[in-house]
Symmetry: C2
Subunit: 320 residues, 2 copies
């Protein structure tokens, strides 16, 4: 069996190796991804994001437990976009999830390395495709933080969960623009803490105010209260995710096409950006032009705008 066949057959070791190769941006991985692509599109992808310390990993652990109880297979990707320099994965509290690692129906992996020029997005999409092709019913993609990077990563998801904890009043104010738009489902975890109800009401008001913008084409974000450590509220949350899934794929066929179109657009755009800049940077470096340009810049003999236009003229064909 070749790699593609092994992955379609669900071979765990091959899957692990391929995901690592994708993470390391190895060209061989690409050929396999091409072959896998027609076999993707069956899994349901849930993105889970939120600041450090809100209990995402415990929640994911409970979600796995719930889905397994329903006989669904689950793939988990833990994505760490926080370290651009060292590229080190933060596994710390993800150990919690590892109790599922002996379960054949669960596959858990971390992604850490930023692809050479493309950031984490293309490699995350690649890893999702692999888990999809290996036959997982659900893929949970967990990221740390609620910045731009995380929002981009969760664009690959069907349903995006934003996890908060009570008493984040200031934070909600400050990040509301970004998270309101990105979140399909909000989870207030650690809901036994003081201020849970207040946080819920504030959030509800914001969602209400945001409604007019139609960014979600008819879906109004929902809010769930959980205590993941005690497994409280998780079942209701899962029903809420299911409701969003039905919204996407059953109730609004027109929106569904839009949605798949939007996902395809983002995927292709990110990949083209990565591929194009990679080729150009390789050529600039090989020809010694890059160093020459940097010298000119540092000595202020030229400016970055003029140089960038020169590079465009040199490497891009003059045709549509």
């Amino acid at each position: 069996m070749d790699w593609t066949e092994k992955i379609l057959a669900g071979d765990v070791r091959t899957v692990a190796r391929l995901i690592r190769d994708i993470d390391d941006n190895r060209p061989e991985a690409r050929g396999i991804l091409k072959e896998l692509y027609p076999h993707t599109g069956r899994a349901y992808v849930v993105g889970i994001t939120g600041s450090p310390g809100v209990g995402k990993s415990t929640l994911v652990d409970r979600m796995i437990q719930h889905l397994r109880g329903q006989g669904k297979t689950v793939g988990v990707l833990a994505v760490d976009p926080t370290s651009p320099f060292s590229g080190g994965a933060i596994l710390g509290d993800r150990i919690r999830m590892q109790r599922h690692s002996t379960d054949e129906g669960v596959f858990i992996r971390s992604l850490a390395t930023r692809g050479h020029f493309g950031g984490l997005t293309p490699s995350t999409r690649g890893a999702i495709a692999v888990l999809d092709a290996m036959g997982k019913d659900y893929i949970l993609v967990e990221t740390v933080g609620v910045g731009q990077d995380e929002v981009e990563i969760v664009r690959a998801a069907h349903t995006t969960l934003i996890v908060l904890i009570p008493g984040m009043g200031d934070d909600i104010q400050a990040i509301k623009a970004g998270i309101l738009e990105a979140g399909d489902v909000f989870v207030i975890n650690k809901a036994d803490r003081e201020g849970a109800e207040k946080t819920r009401q504030e959030l509800m008001m914001m969602i209400e105010m945001d409604k007019g913008r139609k960014a979600k084409a008819g879906w109004t974000s929902t809010i769930f209260m959980t205590e993941a450590v005690r497994n409280e509220g998780v079942e209701t949350l899962m029903a809420g995710i299911q409701a969003h899934r039905e919204f996407l794929f059953k109730k609004e066929p027109a929106h569904c096409i839009d949605f798949e179109h939007q996902r395809a657009r983002m995927e292709l755009f990110d990949l083209v950006k990565q591929d194009v800049i990679q080729v150009i940077m390789e050529r600039l470096t090989e020809s010694g032009r890059w160093d020459h340009y940097l010298q000119e810049l540092v000595q202020k003999k030229s400016d970055p705008y003029t140089i960038s236009e020169e590079i465009v003229a040199r490497y891009l064909k003059d045709q549509v």
Copy 2:
């Protein structure tokens, strides 16, 4: 006087208009940036980043006050990378700083729109260049959050401040890889709160452990305790920033060249990435190829990797 002359003369209205044009990614702005470029490089750029609620704006307000007391002129850019969809700036608590807005020696602006294809980085760099050219001695760039985006923005800074508050133990663990590498100076604000000393010790240990990696070429990150609301510790912090400045520009001439080289490299790379993808996307859209490719993708007639390679072959010249 043309725009360039007006900006070099410090005309506030022209500066405001140009920054808005840069933020809106207007092509006219580019010509002016080219002319301004030889007049840049004098300002000292300080990046200030940290999670929402740590008191960054109050701290920046105090820093402005301190620098003004020394007779220095100050430009402030408040950058909000959190809302990729709406592109809306979060001005909320920045109002605090506005008490300086009647001071001619201070210029404050928000940046919010993500450049069409390049993200916030090129427009932030452009705005920094404008404030530099208009003659500001110090430029303070404040961003919300500590994700990848913020780290990229602060790469344009000479000195990067990471602001924390006591009791962020879990957070420090989770984000340490990213922030340790990005921060030249750490500020524990709201230092009157319980746990300030513990946070300082944890941070110190991490900095100590991180030392071996040499990412900072000889600089060991320093930690300062402040209570910005009461103006406590701000003077000492400013001395700490000055110490880093001296390290960069006086004590280590070899490192200084490296540093300017590194800044130039990042600036050029970000701009080339933006320009190249913009041209290619325009051509793909105009020719109708983009829609065609998306159809193929959605219908699974092709895969994104093959399409991306086709695009590279179509638009890139085959030469080094």
